[in-house]
Each structure stands twice: as structure tokens, then as C-alpha cells.
Symmetry: C2
Amino acid sequence: MPTSLQTIRRERATIEDVAATAGVSVATVSRALRGLPNVAIHTRERIERIATELDYRADPAASRLAAGRSRAIAVAVPMLDGWYFSHVVAGAEAVLADAGYDTIVVGLGTYGEGRQVLEAAGPIYRRVDGLICVDATLGDDEFGRLRSEGMAIVYIGPDGSGVPSLGIDDVEVGRLATAHLLDLGHTRIGVVNGQPEDGSVAPFRRQRGFELAFAAAGLTPDPSLYVPGYFDIGGGYEALAMLLDRPDPPTAVFAFSDEMAFGLLWAARERGLSVPDDLSVVGVDDHDGSPVVGLTTVHQDVAEHGAHAARAMIEILSGREVSLDRQNAPIRLIERLTTAPPPHLR
Amino acid sequence: MPTSLQTIRRERATIEDVAATAGVSVATVSRALRGLPNVAIHTRERIERIATELDYRADPAASRLAAGRSRAIAVAVPMLDGWYFSHVVAGAEAVLADAGYDTIVVGLGTYGEGRQVLEAAGPIYRRVDGLICVDATLGDDEFGRLRSEGMAIVYIGPDGSGVPSLGIDDVEVGRLATAHLLDLGHTRIGVVNGQPEDGSVAPFRRQRGFELAFAAAGLTPDPSLYVPGYFDIGGGYEALAMLLDRPDPPTAVFAFSDEMAFGLLWAARERGLSVPDDLSVVGVDDHDGSPVVGLTTVHQDVAEHGAHAARAMIEILSGREVSLDRQNAPIRLIERLTTAPPPHLR
DNA sequence: GTGAAAGCGCTAACAC
DNA sequence: GTGTTAGCGCTTTCAC
């Protein structure tokens, strides 16, 4: 049976209740409960005991209004259901929760479309003490406005100007994966990028690493072998067709994420192509599913990115100094079963 | 160079600023901006224009304190980085954001350990108007307390008592997957469950469906073929060893999630077992990666669970009536490449 | 249709 | 070491 679920609100203990039963002023309760100095040890203990008994917790809205801090952090990501992003969020949330911060997630819609980071400022405005931007940058105006309002900002992925920024060396990612393929003897290598004309910096840099590796080998890549893959499985699936329906198809493909690489493997199986006999595939991330399909990939510790960003955020909000230099986490190539020398070399 | 990032806070327009420049009282501004009646149309328009010019947005903390509502919803999940949960969160967040609600995520630590839902009440207390519990139930005391404080609650997965609860018919999930295996001729079927002694209701029901299907076929399942898989890939990987290192191993395995099924496939490949020739595998979820490995599975629309819950939440908070009957979303078996008749029948 | 004023529950000076 | 008090920026009666 349908019914209204709005219930009569029961009274909650307020700071006044605690003060009254402890026989002290609200100021003392506030100090005691926040661990501030200038409270007699026995007073503090009594107040803490009474607060527990009364199940008192400071109202965050009242606290925020009076103190100007909300103890909440926003994490903005392009899409909440991507493997990479969900792991970043998980890593950040665990650290933030431990430090007593709430985590507000804001999805920006898929790359390039839907809600922009700028609009995300709506939910963010005065609601959070800090913003962790994952693979998304704020416009100059928005950035300036948020900073001038005292918002702490940390970037994961892109470089920040004047804010901590962390991630991986994406040029090196591209170089590593490509050099592996080149070493095996491949010379025609397809690249599955994110979105065409995406402003994101990671794909751009991975491609740059790709080209650097070619140059180091004294070769020149074929730009007609660059196709979009939209950072998801479906995109990778479609990318293979684009790559293979060419006069001179590649013998290997470098996908800028494991999820896109999965799409390639799927499409290859459907076409009756054997990986790595007919086609080599290398990805980026070391997705949980990569060992399952034996995908060769460039490993990074994604959850740690989120945790690291959260720690940096907490440092900033504690008024401590943090490094503004780009922090790159270690990466490494993991060779599994999807890469081998090209057919003509065997 | 390290440096402090705490910046001097610039002033933001307050409701008083808007009232002053519009030449009206703050009460009128408040009414106008929230679309309340009893504001002259031209007054409203003027106020809206001025608010835009001043880039005014109501301070959520002040608003919350005065009105008692926060326009924020908590989504509590066992683990934020699981495929299922990240998709539920994504589905919910999109709907909540559209309706102007913030989404606060709270991870409960892996099933059974770490933070409990009860502790999640900390971040939740007075911080949110509603709580969406995914695959987790509140203790009776906690539930009662939250409800008496006016907290709106929606369950995804478990049944709620007196609150909307949605999900799928998990008994039917178990029956469907098992009947498929039975139809193919399997009689020794392994079950990869979640955590042993997990209080979760979904695994329990899927197992019940499993047993129902056996009964309908006039057979009895072997309880020694029930092993835990912890709902992740690694758990599935280990589960296969437990299942196969038996005197009379199963010819098919039913994993209660696709991620655990992936682990089975991984372990099977490492053992040199061919799926489905040597072993059939069926999962639950229809994970994005399932088409990649050709996994036979029971499909459900996970993001829609989150979206549905969010819509129900918004209804409740709008004071509208919602159904308290269990809402089960459709499911269907998707036959792909990991199931076939057992070896002895071919 | 609009305004005045009383809070909402806390924090932070400042006084003692 | 503790208390008093003035806000924080809104919403919401209750007048007019």
C-alpha cells in the first residue's frame, strides 16, 4: 500500500542540551568536543561522556555556517561508471572518510558532452571545502573564481597551474607500450584514442609518447591509423573495424585504455582473428579484467591516485604546505598474452 | 616550490545584497528565487535578473539550517569500485543531479568487514535528506532512529520494511541460470557465492533459486559444491581451485556475479581447461566485459536500479506517495559462449 | 504582495 | 579554564 514516508521529526540533542546537563556553557562544549585547548581534562571527559550518552553530534549545517568549513570534498569525474574513475573515487573516498570528510561525487557526463565542470560549480558552491578534478580541467574563469572563494583544488590527470596535480607520465606510457610493440617487430601500429578533438591531456601525451617511440626507432607512424575509441568497450569494438577495413591494416593496436582494448579483443574474436597471432593488442590501466583475458598493458595503481589526491587535499585544508610540482606515480609494462611478433616475422 | 594554498576568501553575494539592489526585503528575494507564490510577476523577474547578475546562489548551509533540508542524498554501497556498485551510483547520481540534489557516497568497506552501515550514520546525520542503501541493510535500531529523525530511505537489493525497495527477483535469477545448465545436461554444478556467512539476501535467494531448479528437475544439489567467491575476480579465481580439487568435480559452475565468473575463466585458462568444452560457466549481471569473453549470464540493468531509486527518493522528498511494494526489474538469460552440454553428453 | 523579525545550531571573539 | 554574545545567511511565521 502506498503511503507518505515523511515522518514527524524527533528531537535531536543540541549543543545546548549537552551544555545544560554538563553544567557548562555551549562554548566549552564546542571546545571540548573539537579537541581544542583550554579545557580542563576532567571537564572534557565529562562532556565527552555526556555527548555520547545523548548521542549528540554537531549539526554540520550549523557548524558550516558558523565556521565556514563544510568538511566535504567534491570529486568530479567525466563518468562515474568507468573503471578508472570508480577506482579513483573509491581510493579517495576511503581516505576522506577516515579523515572525517564527506565525499560528494559529481559526474560530468561523457567526455565533451553533457554537464561541464563549470556547471559542476553549482553543486560545489559553498558546499565543499575542496574539489578533486579527475581528468577534467576547470576553465580559467571558473578556476579563478573558485580559488578566490577559498576552494582548495587538486587535479588528477591534467597539470594544474598553482594547484597540486598528480597522475602518471603519460608520454612515458605511450612510449613504453609502443616500444614494446616496435621491439616485437611491428611497424604498422594502430592507435585507439579517446574522443576526437577531446581536449584531454592524457590521450594527447600518450600519442606523443607513441610518436617518440617511433622516432627513436627511426620510423614514422601512419596518422591514418589513429582512430577514436571513446574510452569504453563499445568504442574499442568499433575502432577495430575502422582499423582493419583499410588497404594496409595494422598488425598491432595500442589502445589508450584497457576497456577499449577489451573492445578490440571482442571484435577480433567475432572476426575470427586470433590475438596475438593475427593481431597484437596492448592497453593501459591494468584493469581487474586484464589478467582474465591476458591483456598486455601498462599498469598504474588507480585507487592510489585517488587516495593520494585525498591526502593532498587534507594537507591543504589543514593549512600545511603541499608540493605543487607534478607528482607522477610509477607505471610499468605488464606483458601477458596479447602481444607477439607480427605474422610476417614468424 | 611548496606553498600554502589557503587563499583569502572573496566576498560572495548574499541574499541581502540581492534584496538591497532590488529594493525589496530578503523575504521577497527568498520567495521569488524559490518559485513560491505571492510574488508579483515583475518583482520576481527583476529579482531573478539581479540574482543572475550578482551570480548569487543561496548558501546551502544557511538554507539547510533554516529550512531543515539539505538537498543532498547519501548512497551507501559495500564497495565503490565494484562494477555493480559504480553503475548503481552513476545511475543515481545522474538523476539526483538533474533534480538539484548532491550525491554523497559512502563506502562500507568490503562485505562484512570495515565500516558498517551503522557507522555510516555519522556522515549521514543531518547531512542528507535521504539514504539509498545498496546491498546493505540498516540494523533495526539504526533504521528506527534515522526514520524517526525524518530520514527518507530507499533500499536497492534487500527488502525494506516500510521503505521502498527495488532490485530483481533473485530467486528467479538463480532458477534461470541453473535451469539453463540443467537443460544442457549438467547435474554436478558448482556454486560460487559471495562471502560465507554473509547476511546478504541476494546470494541467499540465488542459491534458493538454484535449489528450486534442481528440485524441479527431480535432482538434489551437492552442498559440498558451494564455495565463496567474495564477489570479485580474485575470489572467482580461487573458487575454481576449490571446486576442481575434489574427488568428483562439477562440469558447470554458476557464479553469482560476472566478476566472479571472470575469475573462473581466468583460472580455467591457466589450468588449460577449455570453456565450455571442459567446463560451463554462467554468471549474473551482464557486465560490460561479458560480451568480450562471451560469458553466458543473467542480464539486469544496473544503472537503472540506481536511477529508479533516485526517482523514488525524489518522490518521497517531494511528499508524494510511493509504492512500498517490492519493485523487481526485468531480468533475462543471455546465452553466449561459455555454456554447452557436459563432456559426457557429447 | 511585501516586510520585520525570530530563529535554525553552531563557532569565535572577547571578557573574566 | 570558562562564560557571554554576536553573528553565519538563510527560511518562515505573522503583520500589514
